[in-house]
């Protein structure tokens, strides 16, 4: 029986008209839902558009969100560039976040630097492992990494929630959360009282670093070639297997870093469901930024703005967080659509090669 090889997928890419239309559509849907669902539509709209800038608290939180989105988005985009799809990012952030929290809680007396490095390192390692094994399975047996990465995360997420809500729960808190990590492990806050912290700078350093890696190094060249044409890469003597496993691991590692920063910088504890779909948003960010590390910076900002806006507006409406996944859905529907290039029929072969 003929089987469709899993590797036959086309690279995931967005196009400029699709990006613009997707953002506009997301904005439109948001506005419509806000107006429809709010007793005072005008105030909701004002909150949506102006909310993120109304005070330092909102602004800082928005920038903090953008930083986390950027790191995770880089993870998604790097995998896309190598032609692999890490669909377990949200879970990887969640799991690694808990790992970072556990490390911090286990060594409360350790020196600040050692604790931060250890917690971040273990989180990155766990993330890299979770995604890396999917790359390994793909390399060994052609197992579809899109499905395995999602399933592995989905299988572990309930356990993380159980640990946070059960054995590790902070009994003093009303929230389902672990005990807060020691003061010295918390990343320096930049705009108190907001959550903005040093992680933003890390994110802003990572983007050009990823750009340099992709476009100015041999490894980046090999990674992109592998992503665009696996067979050609193999033919050219590129170690294709490595560029299946390593980008997945890096992608997972960056998600792990996101998780660690969310705990050490933003929340100071592992809260149940603290990702709030951060991993899914990162996919949207990677697509808006067309998998280009530098374009990801504005993409993350735009997306964080929309997120912060809808959170601010939420105070004036009757809904809660599901608005975020509706916005995501709208963006995902539109972002890779080829709206501006309607073709009446597919041309299957190029003229020169068919001649």
């Amino acid at each position: 029986m003929a089987e469709k090889p899993a590797a036959s997928r086309t690279p995931v890419r967005s196009r400029t008209p699709g990006t613009v239309i997707a953002l506009l559509a997301a904005l439109l849907v948001t506005v419509v839902l806000l107006v429809a669902g709010s007793p005072s539509p005008l105030r909701a709209l004002r909150a949506f558009f102006g909310g993120p800038f109304s005070n330092i608290y909102y602004l800082g939180n928005m920038l903090d969100g953008a930083g986390l989105l950027l790191i995770a988005g880089l993870g998604v985009g790097l995998a896309f560039r190598a032609g692999v799809f890490n669909l377990g990012g949200d879970g990887q952030i969640y799991i690694s976040g808990l790992v970072a929290a556990i490390v911090c809680l286990a060594i409360p007396e350790a020196p600040a630097a050692a604790g931060i490095v250890l917690a971040t390192g273990s989180a990155v390692l766990v993330g890299a492992l979770l995604a890396g094994v999917c790359g390994l399975f793909k390399y060994l047996w052609d197992t579809d990494e899109l499905i395995t990465s999602f399933l592995i995360s989905a299988a572990l997420v309930p356990t993380v929630s159980f640990l946070i809500a059960g054995p590790l729960r902070n009994q003093q808190s009303n929230l389902l959360t672990t005990v807060r990590i020691a003061e010295r492990f918390r990343l320096l806050r930049i705009l108190p009282p907001s959550n903005l912290n040093l992680a933003l700078f890390a994110a802003l350093l990572l983007a050009p670093a990823a750009y340099f890696l992709l476009y100015h190094t041999v490894r980046g060249y090999e990674l992109r070639i592998t992503g665009l044409n696996r067979e050609f890469a193999r033919y050219g003597g590129i170690a294709v297997g490595a560029y299946t496993v390593v980008p997945m691991a890096i992608s997972g590692g960056l998600h792990g870093l996101t998780g660690a920063f969310a705990v050490l910088g933003t929340h100071h504890a592992a809260i149940e469901g603290f990702t709030f779909g951060l991993g899914w948003n990162a996919i949207a960010v990677a697509l808006i930024g067309r998998n280009h590390p530098l374009l990801l910076v504005p993409a993350a900002l735009v997306f964080a703005y929309m997120e912060a806006g809808s959170k601010a507006a939420m105070l004036h409406t009757e809904f809660s967080f599901e608005l975020a996944s509706i916005i995501q859905a709208v963006i995902f529907f539109m972002i890779t659509a080829q709206v501006a290039l309607p073709r009446l029929r597919p041309r299957l072969r190029r003229p020169e090669t068919a001649a």
Binding site: H216, V218, Y221, L228, A233, P351, A354
Partner: protein
């Protein structure tokens, strides 16, 4: 009084904005009922595209199509099919797991009660049609078990079952043996007598002279001549194809003369190819430094066997090639050439036997290792294996030199650009280095691959179907590079199903049949006819004798 031509194409213009190519530029063409109309031209001349437009497969940007004098809109193959316009493509698309009857009747299925598939009716229908035209095909055979030529006949049968009023064939004889060509031509003649209009796209002037009633010549997207066969000669057609205004190399001239002078004789043609070799090679090799170890290089295959399931697709192959010779390997497609290509490039590991370079077995079978030890390789599949179409031209060119163009893992931009520019200049690649590869024409894509592969170690170079789809000028370049390689002491292996090409370029020729070396011919022994006999397996019994003789001579 007189009926209008069956098909009239008027000012057909086909423009592809994504690669800025005008494949057809205001083309007019009339196709009459009951004639065989040859459509000839170099590669990229727009022949196939024009017929894709007529068969509804490609959209034209402008122009009008009339069938029986009435203007029609052909937006999809379905529209063309309902008007009786059927095209058999150069590489007929078939479904690998399907049987012949399922494939042939796709879209025109035989159904019984409750609209369910009626297998026996389908089988009977196909058997009858095949018998009527003298084709022997088992309707129950699985598609992937068929040889390439049989697949063409199956596709042709599928076309006939759609009762074509206009039948378009794109290079139908490419994979066929001479008897099969004869069968196909007699089939076409009987279709013609039934009143079908037939368009035959071909490269082979010989065939045009043999079977066509009319010929239309295209060049660079436009029609440059349309005449009745009784009013023209092969020389005139060839001249039109190449174009008097263009710069034509000495090689082209001779080839044209050879083709024109002896349309039925492949030998003369091949002689011309070989004859021009030394002069072109002399200048080419002077440009380059010699490989240090090239003189004593040998590449050897020792009892190489590859199984697919129980079938030995390569069966006990022993071959050796020395420095300074071109070893040609030919055979009909599906007889093992493609697996030989994969073994010689390290893409697959033999189940038994070894590949030896300079007498030492290779350590690993991987393209990476093969490249490392100095085996370059120009693959048959240029789009999927030979190039990354979404990467830039420069990125395609530097593939083998990425390690030399870096310092501490960082690519040196200036050196990358200079390196790519140098290859571009040396091989006359037309195109912009920082644009995607997919913008290039087929000939330029092959030039990029060639220049990249020849920029490597040049100890052993494996060419697989190197001239497939190339025009004469690009072929000329390819052949002179090949001879230059040989003269500087490299081992050159040419895998090609094109007998004339192999005859013209090789010092020795191995012929494959059903995964075995059926014959190994020295320079003085070879003729088209002898090769043909081995290709078809007529002489399979002589294998052992030939092999021993071959290895003694080598």
């Amino acid at each position: 009084m007189q009926a209008p031509p069956r098909v009239q194409l008027r000012s057909i213009t086909t423009y592809f904005p994504e690669n800025d190519v005008t494949a057809n530029d205001a083309v007019d063409m009339d196709i009459e009922a009951g004639t065989i109309h040859a459509l000839v031209g170099e590669n990229g001349a727009g022949k196939s595209t024009l017929m894709h437009v007529l068969s509804g497969f490609t959209a034209s940007s402008a122009g009008r199509i009339m069938v029986d004098g009435r203007t029609v809109q052909l937006n999809a193959p379905a529209d063309a099919l309902t008007r009786g316009i059927v095209m058999v493509h150069q590489h007929p698309a078939y479904v690998p797991g399907f049987r012949v009857w399922e494939n042939v009747l796709l879209g025109i299925e035989c159904t019984g009660p409750a609209k369910l598939l009626d297998r026996s009716a389908a089988v009977t229908l196909i058997a009858q049609t095949a018998a009527r035209y003298g084709v022997s095909i088992d309707p129950n055979a699985r598609m992937q078990r068929l040889a390439a030529s049989q697949i063409h006949f199956v596709a042709l049968l599928g076309a006939l079952l759609r009762r074509p009023r206009v039948l378009i064939l794109d290079e139908p004889t490419a994979p066929c043996t001479e008897p099969e060509v004869a069968l196909m031509f007699s089939l076409l003649r009987s279709l013609k007598s039934e009143g079908t209009a037939i368009v035959l796209i071909t490269h082979k002037l010989k065939e045009v002279m043999e079977i066509a009633d009319r010929v239309t010549v295209m060049r660079a997207g436009a029609v440059v001549g349309c005449m009745s066969l009784c009013d023209t000669s092969a020389a005139q057609i060839a001249a039109l194809m190449i174009g008097e205004d263009c710069q034509v190399g000495d090689f082209d001239r001779r080839l044209v003369e050879a083709l024109a002078g002896a349309p039925h004789g492949g030998n003369t043609n091949a002689g011309a190819v070989a004859g021009t070799g030394s002069s072109a090679a002399g200048t080419a090799s002077a440009r380059r430094s010699r490989s240090p170890h090239a003189r004593d290089t040998t590449l050897e295959l020792h009892k190489v066997t590859v199984y697919v399931g129980d079938l030995a697709v390569l069966d006990d192959i022993s071959l050796s090639a020395q420095a300074g010779e071109v070893l040609g390997v030919t055979g009909i497609r599906e007889n093992g050439l493609e697996f030989l290509e994969d073994v010689l490039s390290g893409s697959i590991t033999p189940d038994r036997g070894v590949v030896l370079l300079d007498g030492k077995p290779v350590k690993r079978y991987s393209p990476r290792h093969f490249r490392h030890i100095g085996i370059s390789y120009i693959p048959t599949d240029r789009i999927l294996r030979g190039a990354s179409m979404d990467s830039t031209v420069a990125e395609n060119l530097i593939l083998l030199h990425r390690k030399e163009l870096q310092t501490g893992g960082v690519l040196r931009r200036k050196d990358v650009a200079a390196f790519a520019e140098e290859l571009k200049q040396r091989y006359g690649i037309t195109g912009v280095l920082h644009q995607p590869m997919k913008r290039l024409s087929g000939g330029n894509i092959q030039k990029v691959i060639l220049s990249r592969e020849l920029s490597g170690l040049r100890k052993v170079v494996v060419f697989s179907e190197p001239s497939w789809g190339l025009d004469l000028r690009s072929r000329d370049l390819m052949y002179s590079e090949m001879r230059a390689l040989r003269d500087e002491g490299a081992v050159v292996i040419l895998i090609s199903a094109d007998i004339d090409e192999v005859l013209g370029l090789s010092d020795r020729i191995a012929v494959m049949y059903r995964g075995r070396i059926a014959g190994l011919l020295q320079a003085e022994q070879r003729t088209r006819e002898r090769i043909g006999e081995f290709m078809l397996g007529f002489k399979e019994r002589d294998i052992t004798a030939l092999e021993t003789r071959g290895s003694q001579d080598g």
